[in-house]
Every structure is written in structure tokens, then in C-alpha cells.
Symmetry: C2
Subunit: 375 residues, 2 copies
């Protein structure tokens, strides 16, 4: 599980705390760092590792998802995560309307409007690779054109073919031998396209692969996309599922051969007061937690629970808008997800992933916070 | 130096980070905790130490300063810190106008309007002590009526006499033998009143003393207030100067016999991107720091500098509104101030405080951030 540090920091969490909570790999967003502070600034400041104070592995995405989510995602009001695009911004706000005008794609690349200052910007496979090489992450991703669930088969095929042509150009553009490059499989929720894309990308000299773009409109669709894609990819490649990371998804997608995930959910949910527990998400701001002296999750080893901060205290911090709320909640959610990933790895080694999944889902209530989460 | 955790947390800093940065004592505000979440909730959650996860000493103030700053402070537009009341809120906003109506003082106590929900609330010496005993800090303060520099001598005398009567009532009201109680000296910037007040408070069975209220309109006034008050206080009492804590003040007031300080400045300035350096405050958001790979202060042992986070990275975090900015900046400023306090203690023991002061002030530019701070 890559912990997401969109703009060069995991919101509200220091690198020391990340290590303490068990984080091993970070993912930073090329789109955000390209626009601010700029790849050359990061390079000047010693590259992404030095910039962020993180000496472990870092992945950068290609920028494609953010660029195209400004266009079709807004146009269609949907995204890969079933119903909405994940919002990477601090504020949770995003412009609405006139979306189609914000990004223009051609065979060479994409021109788009910066969400920060409204300037017109351009990304091509070559520019994306140059940026990612300047940032200096350990793993870079090929520049791709993700589609939304509302794109039809014809457009999805067009975008996939563009993604394939761009994949070759990314491989040609790379100059660093110390940076792995992953190809990205597209093809929406169309079986034929996903199979084609997995075969095409799997035949290129990448070091690994990411599954991107629309994963359909339901968990079943997402599982189908994986089942169509996986058999056509080289056995030895690490397989990254982009932007997915709810607990139930980690279990079901690991069972389908996914090795790596990244998701802003643990930290974003935390900032909205939603805390993972074995029973489901606990909305800590609920009035019933006002005088609750228990920790969020008994036996949890995260700093927040191990220190003994009560649910009542966390609720107070959220209600009073205290910054510490975001840190303490993020540490708990990260630990929960990273512990789950550790359990998944152990279960894979012990050939008991199905048992772990059944055991976990017997208690865990997915979706919005449940009252049951308050137990 | 008490690190201020107004509403039960030091904004953006965990207790572990506080210990790491050298914090020994915290101060929490009775007014804020009384209004939210309420003293009984804190008590129910195990008292302030358990609530905040801090097993070191904690001081609570009496609530008087906040209650009366809603009234006369707003009315006069001034406060003790020469030109403005320190603003304890997260947002930096405060209501303006109609201030005189927000608080009504009588001989028994004060009725005021909550800044949170507009409800009418009341504090008396007995209520303040009951709240502070429920919160359970190690040091409580007697309920007082601070005045502003614009109150005339007659009103300042009236408020001082009320403070004296309330001091006796606080002593009568206390029931906990495990909590120290400090008296508060008032009397504005009037020599006769300060001397009277120090004599009166100094003769009561407190365990220590705080200097409160208006300290005049200049640093010279503040020093005069201390020079008038100190000789009349028991030698053995610890002496706390409330709400003061710029570096130059720590030096000049320690020289006048002050043992304890508290001030929100290190963390508040940090959240506004103002970082202490031996040359003065550095406004880290300035464009010239964009590609500055140096740490804020070479040789500084704080997490931020020791990890090697560059000025360029910190500037980026502030510009991008990343939460980590507030944590990293606060850790630096706290370390700077706590290191200075450690130097002051060492200099007092070595009888070299004057030398330390001269040496410090030869480089340090007080006031607003200087370009020199960028060196």
C-alpha cells in the first residue's frame, strides 16, 4: 500500500510518523508537483526523496488521471472510484461545469487548465517522463488517457490506443536507468479492450504494470476488469491497482493478483472524522462519543490508540477544529490499512487469504460509517 | 516556558513531538475548555492529563483574561500585548463591535457571551476554581479581572480590588490539596496599584504568583510593571508572566525575576509561516525561498532542521496549504524558544544572563520578519 503524499507531503503526518505507522512506500502526484512547485524546483531541492524527507521508495503517477479527470470526469460527473473521482485537493472543492473545455486531448498529448492559477499547461508522454525523471521517484508511470464509465466503447478504444502509442513513447523517452517504469493498462469496463491492453502493455519492456482508468460502476465490474487483465500480464511484474484502497477492495483485489495499491482514503477519511475499525468506519464526531473514554480500537498499535487518546478527546478535537485531530485520525487509519496489508501478505504466504477475507468481512461493514462502528 | 494548548491540544503537535522538542509544561485555557467540551466532560474522560495525553505538568489559567478581553479589550481595541489581545482561537477571527455588551462584571463575578454559540455564561471565583479542579491541572490560577491600557486609574483600581477580593474567595473555594494555586497581580501600568497588588497577593497563602493584566503600551512599561511588582512578592514563589514570550521578552523579563512564561507566539507565528532564527523571524513564504535548499537554521536540533527539510520545501507546504507546514514550522519555533529558555536558565546559574542577552540581541532583530532573517 503506497501512502499518498499528493503534493509532496502526506497531509498532517511527518515522515517519522509514517515510518512508525509502518508505511514503506509513498506515492506522489506528478500533476500536482508539476504545477506547484514545479519539477525543476523539486530537482533543485535535491529530488523528491530529499524534498519530502523520505528515504524509502516513492512512486509518481503520470499526471494523466488528474489531467483527464478535469475533462471527462467533470463532464460526466463520474470517475473510476464508482460514482466520483477521488479529489486530491486539500480543500475538497473542485470547479464544476464547463469541464469539457478544461482539457483538450490530441494524438500527441493533452492541454489543460491548471486548477491552481488557470494557466494553460501541456503534458505529453515525453514531458511526463521528463518531469518524473526530474522528480526522481523510484517508480514512474507511463503517461496514459484514463476514461470514465460513461465513455462508450468507441471512445474507450480510441483512448486505449492512444495510451498504447504513448506507452512506447514513454519507453523511448526514458533516460534514467535507476528508475523503474510501469506501463498502464486501460480499456474501461470492456473485456475485449482490457484483454487487448494487457497483452499490448505486457509485451513492452516495462518493469511492472498499473491497472488504470474506469473500473466500471460496481465492485463486480472492478473485479471483472482485473479478471480480464491479469492473465495477459507477465508473471514477474509487480501489479499496481491505481487509486483503490478500501479494506474490502484490498482483500478482493489481492486475491485477483494485485500486489500494490495506493489510495488517499485512509488520510482523507481521517480528515473527515471517519476512522477505520474492525466493524466498519466510525464517525468520531457523533454526539455519542462525547464522553466515551475508550480508544478508537482496543488493541490497535497506532500512536493514537496506544497513547490512549479517547474517542471523546478525538471528537473534541474535530468539533473544535484542532489541527491535531487530522494527525491523530490519519495515524490510526494508516495503521489500520497497513496492518491489513501486512495480514494479507502473511495470508498469501500461508495460502489462507480466503480465510482472512471471510473472517474480516464477517465483522467489517463496508460503505458509510455505521453505528456499529461505535462498538 | 509553558507551551500553550488552548483547547486541549498544542495545535498540530503531538505529545510525543512536544517531549522530543523539549517541552516540559503545558498551559491550557479554562475559558475554552469550560465552553467546549466542558469541564465535566474532561473530568469524565480522566482529567486534563489523560485527555491530552500529557503526563508532565499542566497549568490552567482562570478564564478571566478571555472573559474580559471579550469586553474591554474589544471595546478599547487593545490588550496586554501592546496593541492587541492575543487571539487564542484557531481561526484568527473574533467578533468586533458591541463588545461592551458581551461581558458584564459585578462584584460576584462576570457574565459573558460564549464566542462559540452565543450562549450566556457565568464565571465567578468559585466556578473558576471548580472548573480548574475538575480539569485537574497541576497549577491553577486565581480568577481575576485584567484591565486594558486604556482603562483609567480609577477603573484599574476597582478591578484590582475586585481581583483581590476574588483571590481570597478562590483560596476559600479550593478543595484539592494536589493542585497548586497561584494568585494574580493586577494594577495595570500604575506603580502604586502594582505595588499594592503585589503586597496584597504576596501576603495570601498561594503557592506562586502570576503577573497579569495590562503591562502598558511598550516594552519599557512592561519592565516597569515588573520592577514595581517583584520586590513585594515572596522570594520562594515561582513567578509567571502571563501571555508573554517573544525572545527578547524572555531575556528582559527573566532578568527581572520572572521564572515562568506562556505564549502562543511560537505556534501561532509558525502557522503564519514566521520562523524564529538567531537573526530574527523568517517569513518562509517569501519568493526568495522557493529554491533555497538550506534548512531554516543551520545547527538547529529541531525535527524540521535535523531531518533536513529545506526552506524551499517548507515554503512549498505553506503555499500549497499542506497541513504538514504547520507541524514542521511549530516544531522549529518551539525548539527555538525552549532552547532559548534553557540557555537563560544556564546563564542564570552561571551569573551570565547579561552576557547572553547582549550576545543574543546583537544578532536578533525583534518585531516583524526581516529580510535579514533569510540569511
Amino acid at each position: 500500500m503506497c501512502v499518498v503524499g499528493t503534493a509532496g507531503s502526506v497531509k498532517g503526518v511527518t515522515p517519522d510518523e509514517l515510518r512508525e505507522v509502518g508505511a514503506a512506500v509513498l506515492l506522489a502526484n506528478t500533476y500536482h508537483l508539476f504545477l506547484r512547485p514545479g519539477a525543476e524546483v523539486v530537482k533543485q531541492l535535491g529530488g523528491l526523496h530529499r524534498f519530502m524527507g523520505w528515504d524509502g521508495p516513492i512512486v509518481t503517477d503520470s499526471g494523466g488521471f488528474q489531467v483527464f479527470s478535469l475533462g471527462s470526469g467533470l463532464e460526466h460527473g463520474v470517475g473510476k472510484q464508482i460514482g466520483m473521482f477521488p479529489d486530491e485537493s486539500s480543500t475538497g472543492r473542485r470547479p464544476r461545469g464547463q469541464a469539457a473545455r478544461l482539457v483538450r486531448v490530441d494524438s500527441d498529448g493533452a492541454t489543460f487548465t491548471s486548477h491552481i492559477d488557470g494557466s494553460r499547461q501541456r503534458l505529453t508522454p515525453e514531458i511526463s517522463i521528463a518531469i518524473q525523471e526530474a522528480l526522481g521517484a523510484d517508480v514512474a508511470l507511463a503517461f496514459d488517457e484514463p476514461t470514465s464509465p460513461l465513455h462508450d466503447a468507441d471512445y474507450t478504444r480510441l483512448a486505449m490506443e492512444r495510451t498504447h502509442a504513448w506507452a512506447r513513447r514513454c519507453l523511448d523517452a526514458r533516460t534514467r536507468s535507476d528508475q523503474a517504469l510501469y506501463g498502464v493498462v486501460q480499456g474501461g469496463a470492456y473485456s475485449e479492450l482490457r484483454e487487448d491492453s494487457a497483452r499490448f502493455i505486457g509485451a513492452l519492456p516495462f518493469e511492472g504494470v498499473a491497472i488504470g482508468g474506469s473500473l466500471g460502476r460496481s465492485k463486480a465490474d472492478m473485479h471483472a476488469v482485473l479478471d480480464w487483465s491479469m492473465p495477459h500480464l507477465p508473471e514477474a511484474w509487480p501489479r499496481h491497482l491505481l487509486g483503490i484502497g478500501e479494506p474490502e477492495d484490498l482483500l478482493s483485489c489481492a486475491a485477483r493478483g494485485i500486489d500494490q495499491f495506493d489510495c488517499v482514503a485512509p488520510t482523507r477519511l481521517a480528515r473527515h472524522g471517519q476512522l477505520y475499525t474492525p466493524c466498519g468506519k466510525m464517525l468520531i464526531t457523533r454526539p455519542e462519543f462525547r464522553e466515551d473514554a475508550r480508544v478508537v480500537q482496543a488493541g490497535c498499535g497506532c500512536y493514537t490508540c496506544a497513547t490512549g487518546f479517547s474517542r471523546g478527546y478525538l471528537r473534541h478535537l474535530f468539533v473544535a477544529n484542532e489541527l491535531l485531530a487530522y494527525t491523530l485520525a490519519s495515524l490510526h487509519n494508516l495503521r489500520f490499512i497497513l496492518d491489513l496489508m501486512a495480514s494479507i501478505r502473511a495470508a498469501i504466504r500461508a495460502d489462507s487469504l480466503a480465510e482472512l477475507t471471510a473472517e474480516f468481512l464477517a465483522r467489517y461493514q463496508p460503505g458509510m460509517p455505521q453505528l456499529a462502528g461505535g462498538q
